[in-house]
């Protein structure tokens, strides 16, 4: 074999390059899965607007839907009912409140979200209903009071950087 030494040296260097990512990370623990903080204060405010699993995967769609409904269709509130418990007259609720069927809603959830509507129709206070103000600042962030310990925990990990906070005002972070 001609120039055997040179070829083998070249191969070794090439191999070292190709495997670089593997041995560079060796000994380092994998990025831990992010744990968004749900404080006792958040829990005391009541359950999330949808079950946890659904929130994790669809919260961006919910927010997108909300902003179109609020700004473009002028429907700032939604009233969620478990379909079985919905009484006929509830369908006729007019105004800024949209009636939404939520088949996942089984318990009569009475969270503080229901108090967000001061001028709501009294009829809405019957049955298994939750009224929700569709608002990033005035609803999500009323319960999830820290952007840093909640939204950012996952977003930094997943490397997503929503531009919402250029305009929407995040709650003031408490100093540790």
């Amino acid at each position: 074999m001609y120039d055997g030494g040179k070829i083998i040296t070249g191969l070794v260097i090439a191999l070292a390059f190709l495997t670089f990512p593997f041995w560079w990370n060796k000994g380092q623990a994998a990025q831990p899965k992010p744990v968004p903080v749900i404080t006792d204060q958040t829990k005391a405010m009541g359950p999330c607007i949808q079950p946890k699993e659904k929130m994790i995967t669809t919260h961006m769609q919910i927010l997108d839907d909300w902003r179109n409904k609020v700004v473009r269709d002028a429907q700032r509130y939604e009233a969620q009912y478990a379909p079985k418990t919905r009484e006929p007259e509830m369908v006729a609720v007019e105004g800024a409140i949209e009636v939404v069927d939520n088949s996942l809603l089984t318990l009569p959830v009475i969270g503080p979200t229901r108090d967000l509507v001061s001028s709501g129709d009294p009829k809405l206070n019957v049955g298994n209903a939750v009224q929700i103000e569709r608002s990033l600042q005035n609803s999500c962030m009323k319960c999830h009071t820290s952007k840093k310990d909640f939204c950012d925990k996952c977003h930094t990990y997943a490397n997503v950087d929503p531009t919402c906070w250029d305009c929407h005002v995040a709650p003031e972070e408490k100093k540790q």
């Binding site: 473009r72 002028a74 105004g95 250029d166 305009c167 005002v169 709650p171």
Partner: protein, 263 residues
């Protein structure tokens, strides 16, 4: 007759050219402008919001109060120069005061009564019946709600400023810089804006939802600003417009302003 390759290509080319005119023909025949009224949302149907400004009662201090209340409620920045004076090239305004000759340039004369000349007239978005800003917006970020309010969907604004060119009243401001450093006290209940979007008065759409009056109306205690529904024959705005002679800004342009002034 045989068609050779050259003839085929000629015919195909002509046919393609013909096809390409179809979209143009459609646009010309449909004749609808972009962005004119979408569906009517249940929440606001059957209302037509308007404002009456009673200049017999309104003092310059009250215009100042109204402007202040509005700008505080909506996180409107106060953009100033290094020496503290207003930066008139970059300032953002939703509601402010102006002189008669600026507000009603087509209804003035050389010998206008002095008391009109001295007055301070509140200026805000007129929420026109046929808003030119809505027609020119390429993304439908500005649109007219069924209740007459001309609102901006900030999420769609690309900052092209066609609307500013279209508005004959100068009601719109452009964010040349990040507004946040110029907001003294941020209202946590309402978003700010960012560099590169246009903004203007929204007739307090976010307060009307809750059954509240606009912030400026609430700040003027003399009752010189009156807000209400023009479609309701017993509303205060209808009564005032029927009982008094009112004028609108630049009516000859045919925009149909929803802000009426009693002189």
């Amino acid at each position: 007759m045989t068609v050779d390759r050259r003839d085929f290509l000629k015919i195909a080319g002509l046919a393609a050219a013909g096809l390409s005119t179809v979209p143009v023909a459609q646009v010309l025949t449909e004749g609808t402008a972009m962005g004119v009224e979408e569906k009517a949302p249940a929440a606001t149907a059957g209302k037509r919001w308007a404002m009456v400004v009673d200049m017999r009662k309104l003092t310059p201090e009250e215009v100042e109060h109204a402007s202040h209340a509005c700008h505080e409620a909506h996180n409107v920045p106060n953009i100033v120069n290094a020496d503290g004076s207003t930066d008139t090239k970059h300032e953002i305004k939703w509601l402010w005061g102006g002189e008669y000759e600026f507000v009603f340039p087509d209804a003035t004369s050389e010998f206008l009564a002095a008391n009109y000349k001295e007055k301070e007239f509140p200026i805000l978005c007129n929420h026109c019946a046929s808003p030119p800003c809505v027609r020119v917006c390429p993304t439908q970020a500005t649109f007219k709600r069924a209740d007459g309010i001309v609102v901006m969907d900030m999420h769609r604004c690309i900052g092209c400023r066609f609307c500013m060119a279209g508005c004959p009243y100068g009601s719109r401001s452009f964010n040349f810089m990040d507004p946040r450093p110029f907001i003294k006290k941020t209202n946590p209940l309402y978003p700010t804006r960012m560099k590169g979007v246009v903004e203007k008065c929204n007739f307090c759409a976010e307060r009307l939802f809750k059954g509240l009056k606009p912030a400026c109306v609430e700040a003027v205690h003399s009752g010189a600003l009156v807000f209400g529904d023009l479609d309701d024959p017993s509303s205060d705005v209808r009564r005032l417009i029927q009982e008094h002679y009112t004028i609108q800004r630049k009516p000859s342009l045919g925009t149909g302003p929803s802000v009426y002034y009693i002189l």
